[in-house]
């Protein structure tokens, strides 16, 4: 059986982005760790389907809903002259 390992180049990219963020925060005088005094926002996301995906049809339905939402928001975000 093959062992999955993350792509090293992608790991380097993620690591360098993390280091850059930490450096920027340090320069701004902020800590890299989350501020303990801030109240965490609860996760209020809901599943698309109450019982999860039970068939390919369900998964494609979710995909179509997202595609419709994206199209709708693109129309709404068009600049008005």
């Amino acid at each position: 059986m093959k062992q999955y390992r993350p792509d090293v180049e992608f790991q380097k990219l993620r690591y360098s982005m993390m280091k850059s963020r930490n450096t920027l925060r340090r320069l701004q005088g902020k800590s890299a760790a989350p501020d303990p005094s801030r109240k965490p926002i609860p996760d209020n996301s809901e599943p698309w389907l109450p019982d999860g995906v039970r068939s390919i049809k369900d998964a494609l339905w979710i995909s179509d809903q997202i595609a419709k939402d994206i199209a709708l928001w693109r129309r709404k975000l068009q600049p008005v002259n």
Binding site: Q11, K12, S45, W48, G52, V53, S55, I56, S63, D64
Partner: protein
């Protein structure tokens, strides 16, 4: 007038005749990522050879005059007599004439045809007769494609698996922990193995961290700078504060 058949209906027809595994965006959505997909991808049982695979595909689409197979790179139509040669060379074909393109794989990315049964046995059965590959098998098919959208899928799948591993690994039996490590390895997972009660697993995890660092993984190199070599048998493994961070990213929907 003939009603246009949908990709999901056609997949169900395939599933009633042979083993079908769901791949691509449909599979990632099924595992809980909220995204859309342009097409549907399935891995049809590779069968004995390309000829018998092509015969089955042709028999199923013969009932559907609007549906026709096409091939890479420009999705040019394939004559029925050339289907076996196309699938032998390309490993996949695309069916057009449905509500969306349907990609049929005989040899998917990064998986061998002789791995089909193992992937099938690990997969979750769906109500339409198809099966959904487990997270790790699906993740393997997303490697080395060079496509931006696959990077998002990889991040989602990796973090979800990592979250499950970080929960299970420290308390898993030796055999289970070894099996887990031999299948999926990230620096966080290797580091979590250092909290296992068994010296053998801690040693394995430490060895993996060294391997990852040797391959150039910067996280593994950083962990090695922080971690002492594994403790000898009988001594208490150190706890791993902060290692749960990755688990918090896993999608709450599933």
């Amino acid at each position: 007038m003939e009603k246009k058949i949908t990709a999901s209906e056609l997949i169900e027809r395939f599933a009633s005749r042979t083993r079908v595994l769901v791949l691509g965006g449909v599979a990632v959505i099924s595992h809980g990522l909220s995204r859309n997909t342009y097409d549907a991808d399935v891995w049809i049982d590779p069968a004995e050879n390309a000829e018998s695979w092509a015969r089955l595909v042709l028999a199923i689409i013969a009932e559907l005059p609007r549906v026709f197979p096409t091939r890479l790179p420009l999705w040019t139509p394939i004559a029925p007599a050339d289907l076996a040669e196309a699938i032998e060379n390309d490993g996949m074909i695309r069916l057009m004439g449905l509500d969306r393109p349907l990609d049929l794989f005989r040899r998917p990315n990064e998986l061998e045809m002789d791995e089909f049964s193992d992937v099938w046995n690990r997969a979750k059965p769906l109500e339409d007769g198809t099966r959904l590959p487990d997270l790790i098998d699906l993740l393997v098919t997303k490697q080395r494609t060079g496509r931006q959208k696959d990077m998002t899928d990889i991040m989602f799948l990796e973090l979800k698996i990592e979250g499950q591993y970080l929960e299970e690994l420290p308390a898993a039996s030796d055999a289970r922990a070894e099996e887990m490590l031999r299948r999926f390895l990230t620096p966080n997972v290797a580091r979590a193995a250092l909290a296992h009660p068994s010296f053998a697993i801690r040693k394995l995890g430490y060895g993996y961290l060294q391997e990852l660092a040797g391959d150039g993984d910067p996280y593994a190199a950083e962990y090695l700078r922080e971690e002492p070599p594994p403790y000898e048998t009988g001594k208490k493994p150190r706890s791993m504060p902060g290692i749960k961070m990755a688990a918090e990213f896993s999608n709450p929907q599933q």
